[in-house]
Symmetry: C2
Subunit: 353 residues, 2 copies
């Protein structure tokens, strides 16, 4: 604590991302990165990029990228906001739409950045308890709230909420902004993106980090009614004129073009997710039904923390949330390649023996 800090700084509870691997042999299943590299179109786009253009600022409105996203999502360019990763997009969303006279609400087991944003923007929040099977219960959302946000599929559980239930939340809470965080949306059954055409209070956020394998390039976007997108641009233009750099934009445009590659990667991950789920269940694990690129698991006979330590000794990183809550005995394991999944299952078998 420094006397030079503003009042807020000491009170913040900064988010802690999963660690980065420092040696090459490690199997990194701790931050839900894609098991596969981005499309070859990205490699090509980088190779053909002329560094001379870097002397110029990027387009502050990212028109090219927003047009490509709008085409993909079957929306207008006025319905698209882009930013430096969906984390930045979410931060601006909290600032732009959530009110501080009543609590913002989100599930009690969810992306742990949400309470961090609330602290940063001085928003109170209330948690909606998931049921014993970690299902979201929208009927528990209070009629008066400062905004609603939830990931779909949820993180770190991987559990997907049906489109019809998402729509019900949007229509029932017409006075609140409802944010559906689809960071893992491409691995799930159906996106809620088209709800933004029907509901002026819906924001859907999406990411290039997971399905497009571009976590290292920092790109995310929000879809919404044009008034909400204007609100996001007002915040962004009061914060940083150019959050999306020229190289990142070129990578995103290239990745968006190659639908065949994207779909093949998603298919492989879904297949490996099934291998992983079944394999762990055969070893006695409780594995929640995941529609994301990770599984959330626990075992009756061995503590999650001990498991994570034993895996680390075998050069496998998984995510353990050291929290005294009901997820305190769970591990979140990213779906790797088929080979990585087999390696993980073999290690688990060995550890449990």
């Amino acid at each position: 604590m420094s006397k030079y800090w503003s009042d807020i700084v000491g009170e913040l509870q900064p988010y802690k991302p999963g660690e980065q691997a420092t040696s090459d042999g490690v199997i990194k299943l701790n931050t839900n990165e894609n098991a596969y590299p981005p499309s070859p179109t990205v490699e090509e786009a980088i190779k053909f990029f002329s560094s001379g253009s870097l002397r110029l600022y990027p387009d502050p409105m990212s028109l090219r990228l927003r047009t490509a996203i709008a085409d993909l999502e079957n929306l207008g360019i006025d319905n698209v906001f882009v930013g430096n990763g969906s984390d930045e997009v979410l931060a601006h969303t909290f600032r732009a739409f959530f009110k501080n006279d009543v609590p913002v609400v989100f599930p009690d087991v969810t992306y742990s950045f949400y309470p961090t944003y609330c602290k940063l923007f001085n928003l109170s929040y209330g948690e909606i308890p998931l049921d014993d099977d970690f299902q979201f219960r929208p009927e528990l959302i209070p009629a008066r709230n400062g905004g609603i946000i939830f990931p779909n599929p949820n993180a770190p559980t991987g559990i997907y909420l049906d489109y019809s239930e998402v729509e019900l939340i949007a229509s029932k809470h017409a006075d609140s902004v409802v944010v559906i965080d689809e960071a893992y949306g491409e691995f799930g059954t159906r996106s809620s993106a088209d709800l933004v055409k029907k509901y002026p209070n819906v924001v859907v956020t999406r990411s290039f980090s997971k399905s497009y394998s571009l976590a290292g390039a920092r790109l995310g976007y929000a879809l919404a009614n044009k008034d909400l997108i204007e609100g996001l641009y007002r915040i962004k233009d009061s914060f940083n004129s150019y959050p999306v750099d020229r190289l990142a934009e070129v990578c995103a445009l290239a990745a968006l073009r190659d639908r065949t590659y994207l779909n093949s990667v998603i298919k492989k991950i879904k297949e490996s997710r099934e291998t992983l789920t079944n394999g762990l269940r055969n070893l006695g694990f409780r594995v929640l039904n995941s529609e994301a690129n990770f599984v959330f698991v626990s075992h009756e006979k061995i503590m999650a923390e001990s498991l994570s330590v034993a895996l680390r000794e075998r050069d496998i990183l998984v995510r353990y949330f050291s929290k005294p809550t009901r997820i305190g005995n769970f591990l979140r394991i990213t779906v790797g390649t088929e080979q990585q999944v087999q390696k993980l299952l073999a290690s688990m078998t060995e550890i449990l023996r």
Copy 2:
């Protein structure tokens, strides 16, 4: 104005960056971009970049880049914060250190993003009037203030404040955080970076956009005592874990390595600045003494706005600030290549005829 916006959104006064050129033939002297491309080491780094690594998140603490900057600035890694352009770094700086019980202060003619940040973070501010020659008068800074910030060289005037005067501000206002925005620092006489070793209240921000020709890659940094850097990381980690992407980091590291190229570019720009300054003075312009990569000019006989329109008709963009203040009749003109400077001078001659 939407009913879904939070209270702050409607009150914001978003910053408007200079327009981007849409056709190729335009001479773009309106956003202080470097006239020259980045070092060939940047081109090489991009060509050798393996796109496969983009599937992984960047290092959230940017240790490699911070180490390189610390070495350059003769400081420790704990004295370096990096972000998505110096605009993002400045935004976090306002949030982390400026107090809202008394006004933050900055010159009345200065970077127009400062009042925008104040609006965003709900900070009041007071403007310190520059004298008739646009010189900063540190003696007018009130003893009680919520923080002090000024660019050095100042923007849009280009006027440099002596190192000794900067130091005096830091020592005299020991209870305030003093931010020296050196976005254009490499074109000036002397950086204040080493003051951070001596004064725990000093923050110096710098940019890769101008001198390193990397405006399109979005990189900026702050130098300060380690307690202040920790404060910035607390804000950043409550906002966006990974603002610096993998490609941007690689570009910055490559640019930092090539000091010979950097110095040759700076030398050329200083020479062209002299050509431009003298040429405009010969045409009857008032040209402030600039230590940046732009000049701030006005002419008695022709309005700045008319000049900017006439230049645009000749495919030359310059920056005109449409403000009813004493800078309302000034133009800010980026120092281009020698050829661009000659073209501008020829056009001005023609217009004035």
